[in-house]
Amino acid sequence: MAEIELVLRHFLASIGYAHWILHVLLILPLVGAVGLLLSPGSWARWFTLVVAALEFGLALGLWFAFDPTNGGIQFETTIAWIPGWGISYHVGLDGISLFMVLLATGMMPLLVWGSWHSIQNRRRGYYALLLALKAAMVGVFISLDLFLFYCFWELLLIPMYFLIGVWGSANRLYAATKFVIYTFAGSILMLVAIIAMVWLVGRSTGTYSFDYDHLLSNSAALGPAAPWLFTAFALAFAVKVPLFPFHTWLPDAHTEAPTAGSVDLAVILLKMGTYGFLRFAIPFFPAFALSKTVSAIFVTLAVAGIIYAALVSMVQPDLKRLVAYSSVSHLGFVMLGIWGSTVESVQGAIMVMLSHGISTGCLFFLIGMLYDRRHTRQIADFGGLARVAPLMATAFVITAFASIGLPGLNGFVGEFLVLLGSFGRYPLAVTLAATVVIFAAWYLLWAVQRVFFNPMTNPENRTMRDVDLRELAVLFPLVFSMVWMGIYPQPFLRRTEAASRRYVEMVRPYLPPPANAAAAGAAAAVVEARP
C-alpha cells in the first residue's frame, strides 16, 4: 500500500501535478458548463458525467500528492490579478481544505447519477448550474486571497438559487428567496470588514493587499477594530453553518431543493461556514474570538443548536426536513470542536464535517429515491418498506447509524474526537452534547422504524421497486466510505493532523486558561497517551 502511494507520488511529481491541479479543478467545471450549453440537450447527462468523473479522477491525485507532514499550504500559486490594488489569484490547499475539495469533487459523479431520471425538464441548464456550483465550491476552499474568496462565496448563490427555484418542489420560490436573502445579508457586511481589514493592515505596514498570509501575519494591526470585524465575519459564517438562531433558512432550502441541491447543500455549503471560522474568522482575530465571553456565546449557541435541532427533528412529519434539522445538530458539534481548540477537537471537527457530508448526503440521496418512487416525503405515507426494498432499507439503516455516531462507522470518530478534545475546556457543554446523541438515535431510528419496518398499511407501497444498479452505484461508494472511515480513519486523521496542529499552535497564545484545570490535565494526559 505504502509502495503504491510512493510510486503514485513520484508519478504525480513528474507530471508537475502540484502546479496545475488546482487551476484545472477550478476551470474544468466552468468549461464543462459552457460546453454543455453549446452541445445538444440529449448529451447533457453523459457529458456532465464525463466532466464530473474527470474532475474527480484529477482531484483524487491530491490524496496522494498531499504531504501529510506539512501543516502549511501546499499546491500554492499566486498570479497577480488586479495589481496595484493588492488583489491576486492566490490558491492553495492545506489539511483542512484538502478534504473539502475531495468531498466536493467526489460527490460530483454521484450527483449526476442521482439526478439521472429525476430531472426531466431543462436538463442542460440543470447540469450546467451543477457544474458552475462545483467550480464556485472548489474556489471557496482553495482561495487564499480574500477578494477571490468573497467572489466565489457570493457567486455560489446564483447556481444554488436557480437549482432550488427552478427544479425544487412545491414551496421552492419561498425557499430559494429566503436562502439568498439570508446568505447575502450575512456576507455583505463581511465585504466591508474585508476591505476595512485590508485598509487597516495596509496603513500600518504600507502594503495594501488582500492576500491571506499578509493579513494573517499582520492581524495585530487591527487593534480596537477587531471585535467589529470579527462580528461581521462571524455573522456571514454563522448564517452558512448554520449556527442556532440563524438556521431557519436551512430546513426550507433543504426540503424544497431537488435531491442534488440538498446533497450539495448538506455536503459542501454548510461546511463553508465552519471552514470560514477555521480559516479566517478565528485566525484573524484570535484574541477576541477565543476570549471568555465570545467563546461562551459560541459554545452555548453550538450546544443549543445541537439540542434544539435534535428535539425539532423528532417531530418532523417530513423525512427530508427531519434530516435537514439533524444537520444543524451535527454542525453544532463542529462548532464545539473548533472552539475546543485542541488538536483532537479540531481534527474531530474536520472529521465531523467530512462524515456529515457523506452520511447526510447519502440520506438525502435515499430520500430522493423514495420520492422518485412515491412522490411523497411524509413519513406517515410509508411503512414496511424493508420487505419490498431490502437493499434500500439496508443502506438507510447503515447510513442512519453512521449519522447517529455508532462506533465502527464514520460519525463516531469525529464526534468522539470533538468530545474528547473539548472536554478539558468545556466540560458542561460536552456533557450536554454527548447526552443529546441519545436524541439523535431516537429520532433517526424512530423514523427508520416508521418508514421501513412498521406494518405496511399503505397499499401503494406494496409495489415499490428496490434500488436499481444505477442507484446502487450512487449508494455503494458512500456506504463504503462510511465503513472505511469508521474502521480505519488513520489515513484521514494523518492528513489533517499537521494542519490542525498548526492551527492550534497559532491560536494557543490567545486561549484563556481553562475553567477546570484538573479536567484539562486529564484531557492532556489522554492526549499524550495517544500515539
Binding site: W85, C151, L155, I158, G165, I188, V192, I195
Partner: protein, 499 residues
Amino acid sequence: MNALDTTTPIGATLALLPELLLTGWSLVVLLVVAWRHEGERDSRFAGWLSFAGILLSLAAVLGMWHGDWHSEGIAHMVALDSFRYASATLILLLAGASTLLSLRYLGRQRLLAPEYYPLILFATIGMLVMAAATDLILIFLGLEVMSVAVYVLSGFDRYRRSSAEAALKYFLIGAFASSFLLYGIALIWGATGQTNLSLIAAQLAGGAPTMASLGLGLLLIGFGFKVSAVPFHMWAPDVYDGAPTPVTGFMATGVKAAAFVALVRVLDQGFIAQAHQWQPVIGVLAVATILVGNITALAQESLKRMLAYSSVAHAGYLLVAAWPGTAFGSGAVLFYLAAYCVTTLASFGILAAIEHVGSRTVLIDDLEGLFSKRPWGATSLAVCLLSLLGFPGTFGFVGKWYIISSVLREGSWILPVAVAVGSLISIGYYLPVITAMTFKPERTIDAHRQVAFSRAGKAIVAMAVLLILLFGVWPTALLNSAVRSARTLAPQAVVTEVP
C-alpha cells in the same frame, strides 16, 4: 507642445473643440430634419446622422486625451485634463447608445417628430460643457443648455398625460434648482470676487467667510436636485416614469453623470479647503438617499418606477464616493458612474424592447416567464440587475468595492455600512424581477410576443452586458485609468496675480 493658452481666442476654441464640433453638427441635423421629416425613414436617417456627429465629437475628445492636451497655467473657463476627457467620453458614449436605442422605438410608439435627435444633441452639448467647465458661470450655462433640452424631451410623448406632467414637473423643479445654483454662485462671487474654481480655492485657502459657505450650501442644494439626492428627489420617479423610455435611460445616466462630474470638480477643485464643511452635508445626503431610495423601491410594482427609485439609490452610492474629496474618491465616482451608466442604460434598453405599443407600464409581474420565451433578453436583464445589486463578477461589484475602499481609507465607518445595508435592501426588489422572469410560467400563451429588439438595440444591450462581465473580472485597466484621471483634479496652484 500640446499646451494651450485658454486666454487666447485660438486656445479657447481648440479647448472647446468637441463641444464646438457637436454644436455645428447639431445645427446641420436641425437643418436636415427641417427638410426631411416625413416618415420613420427620415427619422432614422436623422438618428444615424446624429450618431455620426457624436462619433466625431468622441474622436475629438479621444484625440485630445491621447495627445495629452493641457492648459498653460490655470485653466480659464475650460479644463484640459483627463478627468474632463474621461467624463466626456462616458457622456458621448451614453448619448450615442441612447440615440441608437431610440431608432426603432420612436416609430413603434408613434413618437415621430423631427426635433427629437437635435434635442438629444443639445442636451449632450450641455453635459459636455458641464464636464469641462472650471468656472461656475460656465457650469451653470452647461446645466441650463442640458436641462432645457431634457425638459422638452421628457414631455416628448405629447399624447400622454403623464408625459406632459413629467415635463412640467421637471421644468418647475429644475428651474427652482437652477435658481438655487445661481444664487449660490452669486454669493460665492460676492465673497471671493471670483467664479473660476482654482481662483476661488486660492481665495478660500485660509478659511471661508460665512457668505461663501452659504453659497456653497446653495450650490449643493442645486446639485442635489439635479442628481436626485434625497430630499430633493421627489421629481425623479414621476419624470422617469413619464418620459419615453430611451429618454429616461438618457436622463438617468447622462444627466446624472454630468451633474456628478461637475459636482466633484466644484468640491475637489474649488472647495477642497472647506472639506470639513461640506463633508457632513454630503454624508447625510448620501445616507438619506441610499435608505429612502432603496426602501421606496421595494414598494414599486412597475419596472420603470422601480428602476427610477433604484437610480435614486445609486445617486446615494455616488455621493458616498464624492464624500472623501480625494483622488481615490473621485476616481471611484468616475468608475462607479461608468458601471452604473452602462448597466442602467442597458436595463432601460431592454425595458424599451419589452414595452407594448400604447400601454407603456410594464409591471414586474408582466415579466413572468420571459426567460422561456426570450432567454437572451431575460439573461441580459438579470445580469444588469445583478450588477446594480453589486454581485461579484460584475462591473457594479467592483464599483461598490471601490467606493467602500475609498471611503474606508478616509476613516469613515458609517458610510460603508450604509452602502452595505443599501445593497442588502436592494436585493428585495432586484431579486423578484429575476424570480418572475425565470421561475414563474408565462401568464398567457401570447405573452412576450410583442417583445421586439431592434438590431441596434440588441447590439447595445449585448455590448453593455459584455462590458459588465468584462470589467467585473478584469477591471485593472479601467480602475487605474479612473484614478489617474481623478488625480488631475487637484486644485491648480495659482502662480500669477489675478488680473
